[in-house]
Symmetry: C2
Subunit: 237 residues, 2 copies
DNA sequence: CCGGCGCCCTAACACAGGTTATTTTCAGCC
DNA sequence: GGCTGAAAATAACCTGTGTTAGGGCGCCGG
């Protein structure tokens, strides 16, 4: 990857025209890449960042911690995702952002970032799109947590993440990186770790997936997608 | 209410400056109010609307229907909420919008609406804010469905809706309108109707709320908020 | 004034998923 | 090459929620 916004551009260009001069403008506003080690907190809950963070490599999660100590991951982000574009408009983070793997990120200060949006209509549109896309993924998770069994939810998560990895050029055939522990997976699916483990075992036993050393391989896409009731529409608005 | 955007302005002005000329500009773009009866579908799933819909009165829900027939409400909207501002940026609805009570809405064609955003920086900011706010509510619902018991989830829903009603001037003391059937409530909380009923009974029996004829009265805010682990921050970014 | 039909409510039982506790695996490392 | 600590796996038991199957009440239309 030459530039920190390449994967973002790749994703956006599936859908929008981003002229080269606009791309260059955003590029010029990004700070040099920064690294976080697996487990590090990238943004604290209730922080008030004055910059937005773009994933260049790795996987990060938005984590909400309740008073009683329960934790829930509300979003997962891979290369090409803005982790907190919404911080341009909201005063406070309602969640922390945690590196789930070694991560490389580039940040853009809010001032210059907002200027890019006002000076380049393509970015004004694209930023609105990214915000709306994020919310569409949130909605699908609401359905997943509210109306699907743990098995179906896990299957759905895999279908979604494979598709998103593919769209930024990070899926190799039916495989992609999923550097989560089962504890973290449980925090995504709203399960206990014990049950998360049961679910993983169950999809493995049925020959739907293989998952070892931080890498998932999808063995039977059709049955997996059927179990998940996966419909890519919400990712490809 | 004199104008269809009054409640929206009221909400936004808690946080942003909206100059009178900007307000007038949005106003001039809104179509005359339209009515929907309780139960009517306002926007179809997979529709591609070319206008955005603002609630003027009533309650509406965004409803996702899975292939297996399961239904999940992903958002509830009251007066002052844009129900589908995201349709400005996304091609297709990933959900339908249903009137849960008799509703009055006003729509704004996408073209003129986008022009308002480009001509009035206040609206460019406010629209981004509304999109980001919507997503913040989605995230809280993810936590509610993933990590809270049915009782806590229902308590949280009530705390959220009371706060939102208050912010647009629709709460009378500790009471507000909640014109849902228990079937619809179950579709919000991701429960069976039987269990939704159990949960309602249980909060009533504990003296936390009263709920009859489409009206909720909060009897003990402190205990309700504690049960819900309610923190208004996400609504007041 | 009497159906009919939503909606609310209940009961009994089944099961998905949670809890607590222990064991096993495995990668790093002195 | 045997420690160590984190992650994965398993076991036994418990509980929240789902399912199926009703009953009853109140409002609206005839």
């Amino acid at each position: 990857m030459h530039s920190s916004i390449d994967r973002l551009l790749r994703k956006l260009r599936l859908r929008w025209e981003i002229p080269p001069d606009a791309a260059a403008a955003l590029e010029s506003v990004m700070q040099p890449p920064r690294r976080y080690a697996r487990g590090e907190e990238m943004i604290a809950q209730f922080a008030k960042p004055n910059e937005s963070t773009l994933m260049v490599a790795g996987v990060a999660g938005r984590l909400v911690t309740l008073e009683d100590g329960a934790e829930q991951v509300t979003a997962l982000h891979i290369a090409g995702d803005f982790v907190d574009l919404h911080s341009l408009y909201l005063r406070r983070q309602d969640h922390s952002v945690v590196a789930l793997d070694d991560c490389v990120v580039a940040t853009a200060p809010h001032g210059p970032l907002a200027e890019v949006a006002t000076n380049y209509p393509a970015w004004a549109l694209a930023f609105g799109y990214l915000l709306a896309w994020d919310a569409a993924v949130h909605r699908r998770w609401i359905v997943m947590l509210g109306r699907q069994t743990a098995r179906a939810a896990f299957a759905h998560l895999i279908c979604e993440l494979w598709t998103r990895n593919r769209d930024v050029g990070l899926a190799e055939g039916p495989a992609f990186d999923l550097p989560l522990t089962q504890v973290e997976l449980a925090n995504v699916l709203g399960l206990s770790t014990v049950h998360a483990n049961r679910v993983v075992q169950s999809l493995r036993a049925e020959g739907l997936i293989r998952w070892r050393s931080a890498r998932v391989e999808i063995l039977d896409w059709d049955r997996l997608a059927a179990l998940a009731q996966f419909d890519t529409a919400y990712l490809q608005h």
